[in-house]
Each structure stands twice: as structure tokens, then as C-alpha cells.
Chain length 222, copies 2
């Protein structure tokens, strides 16, 4: 019966010999745990109760450090999106590709982030990335008047690509089914039926080729 209440379970292992790896509740620790849990169980897998349990604390304790669940999402998102711009500026086009590749890769490493970002944009770490894009474009000689439009188009492109990729999930089965349905309806969709559009699973390659299109268009005309 002892388990019934569970009650004081765990308690804080306060005092002397508490493992040092159980600090106390902290925004950072909450963020980190949330990221783990999101990675493991996906967007819907994160519940406040689960989060609390994973950290060995009571549910309501979280609310001392965090406004509400949305704030947890924000925290996790920004945690994951940290960016360290590395190389120097020389090949503007290569630099931009690097920013966007890294961006995309990060989001795909945590697929929930791609589904989340559209709803809560503009955490600090996003701004870092935008800033970097900005400098790259300027350095590349893109006309001042074009820079903003270029940034947004790049943003749109990554955003769309990752969101799409993440939503298709790793299961190629869905796409295969769709493509099959397409083939049946060959009369309705002659082009699509023939093109195997939905079967192509070279996501990275497709991403790069599309990005090249875009950069070709952005590159200063001479």
C-alpha cells in the first residue's frame, strides 16, 4: 500500500550526498528535459506530468519556473536552434548554403521543431541566423534594396522544406501509397503520375538543387 499515495516519493534528495546531477529545478534543466522528451516521443508526447516525472518533481513545481506549456515549447525550440556561425566571409554563396543547411539539419534532427517553429517565430537564436544571412548577402554584393526580399525568400524556402520533410516523416510508406494512388488516377494527373515526384527520396539533393535555383535568382545580375 505504501505506493498508494506515492506522495513524498523522491522528495528532493536534499542534504549532503545528493547526486550532483540532480540540481534543482531550473529553466535550463526544464528546457533540456523537454528537448529529450520531444525527441523521444514527439510533439504530442510532451505532457507537463510526464515532464515533471522525468525530472522527479511534482507537476506544479514546473509552473514556478515556467509560465505555461507554451513557454516550455518556446524554451525547447530556442534551445535546439542555437547557432554558432563558424567560418569567415569569403564565398557568400557557400556561406549561405552553410547557414541554411545547418538550419535545416538542426530542425530535422528534432523534427518537432519544424512543426513548432511556424507557430512561434523569432526566438533569439533565430535572429542570429537571420543576421548572419543578412551579412552574407550584403557581402555578396546583393543590392541593398533586395536584401530583405532575399532573406525572406530564403527563410520561406528552408521553412517550407523542413516543415514538409518533417511532416512526411521517415515513413516512405505514406508517399509510396500516394504515388500509387496517383498512378491509378493517371488520367487525372498525367504529369505527376509519370514523374515519380512523390517517390523521390533524395531529400537533401532536392533541397540543394532548389536552393541553387533560388540563389541563381538572387545573385546580383551583371
Amino acid at each position: 500500500m505504501a505506493d498508494k499515495a506515492g506522495g513524498q516519493r523522491g522528495r528532493r534528495p536534499q542534504g549532503q550526498d545528493a547526486q550532483p546531477n540532480e540540481p534543482t529545478l531550473t529553466r535550463e534543466r526544464i528546457a533540456a528535459t523537454a528537448v529529450n522528451m520531444l525527441d523521444a516521443k514527439g510533439l504530442d508526447g510532451l505532457t507537463m506530468r510526464g515532464l515533471a516525472e522525468a525530472m522527479g518533481s511534482g507537476v506544479m513545481s514546473l509552473y514556478w519556473h515556467v509560465e505555461n506549456k507554451e513557454a516550455v515549447f518556446d524554451l525547447a525550440l530556442d534551445t535546439v536552434l542555437e547557432y554558432s556561425a563558424p567560418t569567415s566571409l569569403q564565398d557568400w554563396r557557400g556561406d549561405i548554403v552553410h547557414v541554411l543547411d545547418d538550419w535545416r539539419a538542426t530542425m530535422l534532427r528534432h523534427p518537432w521543431s519544424a512543426l513548432l517553429l511556424p507557430r512561434r517565430v523569432l526566438g533569439p537564436n533565430i535572429l542570429v541566423r537571420l543576421e548572419r544571412l543578412s551579412t552574407c548577402l550584403s557581402a555578396g554584393g546583393v543590392a541593398e534594396a533586395d536584401v530583405n526580399a532575399a532573406i525572406w525568400s530564403l527563410w520561406n524556402y528552408v521553412m517550407g522544406a523542413t516543415v514538409t520533410r518533417a511532416s512526411f516523416g521517415p515513413s516512405d510508406a505514406d508517399r509510396a501509397v500516394s504515388q500509387e494512388r496517383l498512378a491509378e488516377l493517371g488520367s487525372l494527373y498525367p504529369f505527376l503520375g509519370r514523374s515519380r515526384l512523390l517517390l523521390d527520396d533524395d531529400w537533401d539533393g532536392t533541397f540543394r538543387r532548389g536552393l541553387d535555383f533560388l540563389l541563381d535568382g538572387i545573385a546580383p545580375k551583371r
Copy 2:
């Protein structure tokens, strides 16, 4: 007091003089009502109970016509995305712009759809649009080998643009705040701080300019 139980409220106005505008429960009617409710109260505003009440039926009756709530989303999404390709093929670039403009406009007219589409792609009406893109590109002389990449890049672009636009919502306040925060942190984000990137609210114009970049890149090189 009569309202207390509500109970048999409404009932089916079965029999002779029922208004013809209250058919019976129907997938189509459910879809339509869901769209209205989504338009009015947003993504989270749609609840099965609310939906049922809006149609004057019991909650569980819905489940006879619909698998679950997700199915309702699918239904509503595809309802909204219906597309009638109008004009003939002549100016491939103009045609593509038309497809994408219409696409974007439709989604922005129902902002929830932009947030939904990333999760549940490839309803039939989406395919119509993709097919249309496909023919336009081919007609425009884009190399066969480039068509798929081009389609996906266009898809990514619209998707990213609409999703972003929808998430910013009509409230410019958020962006203003962010831009202000940017100005304060001018040292961290010199370019962004100066560019008023976040203040620009000519969404349509920006969309078109970015799309031009992309199409410039896609256009067959000569």
C-alpha cells in the same frame, strides 16, 4: 426552465416542414461547418462538442460520419483547398505565379489551413495544384530533369511563406516589439537592426519579389 436540459433540443426536425437547410448529418455538412468554425475561432477553437452543437446534433453522432477529429481537419483542409485552374497555357511564368498566388491567398483566407497543411499533406486538391505546376513548367521549357526539383522548390516557397505569414498573424504588434528588441540589441544584430526587416508589412510584394528570384533561377538558361 425549458432550456435547462436542452435535452431533446432540436431533435431532428424530421417530418414534413423541416427547413431544407438542415439536411441530415453529412460529411459535406460537417466539413463546411468545421471550416466556418475554424475561420471563426482558429485551430484550437474547433472542438467536437462545439462542432456538434453548431449543427444541432449530439457529439457522438459525428463519429458515425467521421473517424476522429483528425479526419475533420483533413476534411476541412481539403474543402478549402479546392482549385479550378482557369486560364490556358501561354505565359508559363505568369501561369505559375497565378497558381501560387491563388494558393497562398486561399490559405491566408483560412489561416488555420497554413498551420494544418504541414501536418497532413497531399489531399486530392493539393495534387491538382501540383499537377498544374508540373504542366506549366514543362510547357515553359524547363528541362525534364529539373521539373521535380523545381516543383518542390516552389512548393517549399509557398509553404514557408504562408506558414510564416499565418503565424505572425494580423497583429503587427508582435513584429513591432521584436523589431524594437532588435534595435536595442543593435550591437548584436547590426544588419537586422538597420534593415527594418521585421517591420516591412508588404507581405504580398515581398512574396512576389522572392518568387521572382526563384523563377529567375528556374527559368531555362539560354
